[in-house]
């Protein structure tokens, strides 16, 4: 129903935004802007996945990376008082970074132009009908064929959670804890006593 040019135009639009924002993340001075541009990059990537009809993965990317991870990132970045320092692009680890980037680029070109090129579909993707359930297909693969890798990944995440908690947990003997149960149980009579007493005779000097 929708002709071929709409997905193509959308693809180039999102891919352009993705590349531009990813480039801006590493060049922009202000770290808050950098974090926000990374959000934009993730969002464009999700839109590209959506064009590949991987709705579930696209939505999960937005939910996990944009909705949770980057919020925490921004949270920390905003708290820090980061002064924009003048830095030379090639100073420090700059040269190593460029070497790694070139190596990765070469690997990807080798992989996609050489080895995987034969496996790539020649014209377009297999398009499924509207009633095809992406979620169901993914779940069937994940919980039958890849169930052990899936469980392993889950255990790995659990280990990471436990490690993160252990690393940040420290005993603070001087820390005063609140006990909500005791707070609720408090009665007015524990805190304040109303007493009856005769009025004190007024002294003459200090009422002015």
């Amino acid at each position: 129903m929708i002709s071929d040019w709409i997905p193509v135009v959308l693809f180039y639009a999102f891919a352009g935004v993705l590349l531009a924002s990813a480039l801006a993340v590493i060049t922009v001075r202000n770290s808050v802007y950098a974090a926000l541009l990374l959000v934009l990059a993730f969002f464009s990537a999700a839109a590209l996945w959506m064009l590949l009809e991987a709705e579930f993965l696209a939505i999960t990317l937005v939910l996990v990376y944009v909705g949770a991870v980057m919020v925490l990132f921004l949270f920390v970045v905003m708290m820090l008082d980061v002064k924009s320092r003048e830095k030379h692009a090639l100073g420090g680890y700059g040269k190593v970074a460029i070497a790694v980037a070139v190596a990765m680029l070469l690997e990807m070109v080798m992989l996609f132009a050489g080895k995987l090129a034969a496996g790539l579909p020649e014209t377009s993707l297999t398009r499924h009908a509207a009633d095809y359930s992406n979620v169901r297909a993914l779940a069937e693969e994940l919980f039958t064929r890849y169930v052990f890798p899936f469980e392993l990944a889950a255990v790995l995440l659990l280990v990471a959670i436990v490690a993160a908690i252990l690393l940040t947990l420290r005993r603070r003997p001087d820390f005063k804890h609140l006990d909500p149960a005791r707070q609720i149980a408090v009665k007015a009579s524990d805190r304040m006593r109303v007493i009856k007493m005769p009025a004190e005779p007024q002294s003459s000097g200090d009422d002015k």
Binding site: M1, I2, S3, I6, V32, L36, V39, E55, F56, I59, T60, V62, L63, V66, G67, A68, V71, L72, L74, F75, M78, M79, S133, N134, V135, R136, L178, P180
Partner: protein, 346 residues
Amino acid sequence: MMEQIWVLIWTLLKIVAVVLPLVLTVAYLTYAERRIIGFMQGRMGPNRVGFFGFKAWGLGQPFADVVKLLLKEIVIPDRSSKFLFLLAPVISLGTAFAAWAVVPFSDSLVLADIDAGLVYILAMTSLGVYGVIIAGWASNSKYALLGAMRSAAQIISYELPMGFALVGVLVAAGTLNLKEIVWAQHGGLLHWFWLPLFPLFVIYYISGVAETNRAPFDVAEGESEIVAGFHVEYSGSAFALFFLAEYANMILVSLLTAIMFLGGWLSPFEGIDALQNSWLAQPHVFWLLTKSAIFLFLYLWLRATFPRYRYDQIMRLGWKVFIPITLVWILVVAVMKVFHIGWWFD
């Protein structure tokens, strides 16, 4: 070619058909809020502005407010980040409206009937926090930044129990599609998910109140401490957008609670033999709107009744009370589902 343009126009019209009533509902929700809280506190509330010289119980008030807000000047603070300052309310409103794309109003009334509807809603509502954070940061104001920090921490904390509550619904219904979730509750009042998922139902609604930064969870805009939190520097129509987004989110949470736990558009009289053939037992969008109205009223009731939570109390409630309860109840639901315990999982 012509056909595609028609599809686009038709989709656009459908979007307008969702957004326009939504905006009107928001307008009258503000009026209802002021009137209802007024009555609860023994006051009259706004009862003067009407139409064409008639007071009409103050029903013209929302329009007067809108005109006032639109005509006011937008003040942009000195040394603020102008682009982000103006972008923040747009992000707030955009994400608040985007979530409505998958909400089913009845079996046929749905804009986008997608399979991952539940995850989509969760993703879109989790994006709303960016509007708040960016507004707080771009304002170049201490109060705004404090409000943004509070709000971000609160939204992240309550997203987890909210997500876990939805996992419970997902386990019970066996699908992520909102329409199928409603049909999984088919069979009458006692088949709706509020009964087997009762703790999740309560937690979802309370987390929804916290997510929308409404009283008693409104530390993000605590007037007594940080003036108005993240939107302290906003005025005129920019402020109106934040306002609109907050109320649209309130309506969304109420509607979703009705859809996921109270059988959506299904009739409460379904399954009663005497009424089986009357219109009362038929599914209708009317039921959905009535159920959501109850939760909207609850929002206002909570606001009129409870004092604001302290920040540490909010964190404790989210992390130490809600998350453990939801985790345990997901397990309980899974066991009930697998062994077909109860009439709701036959």
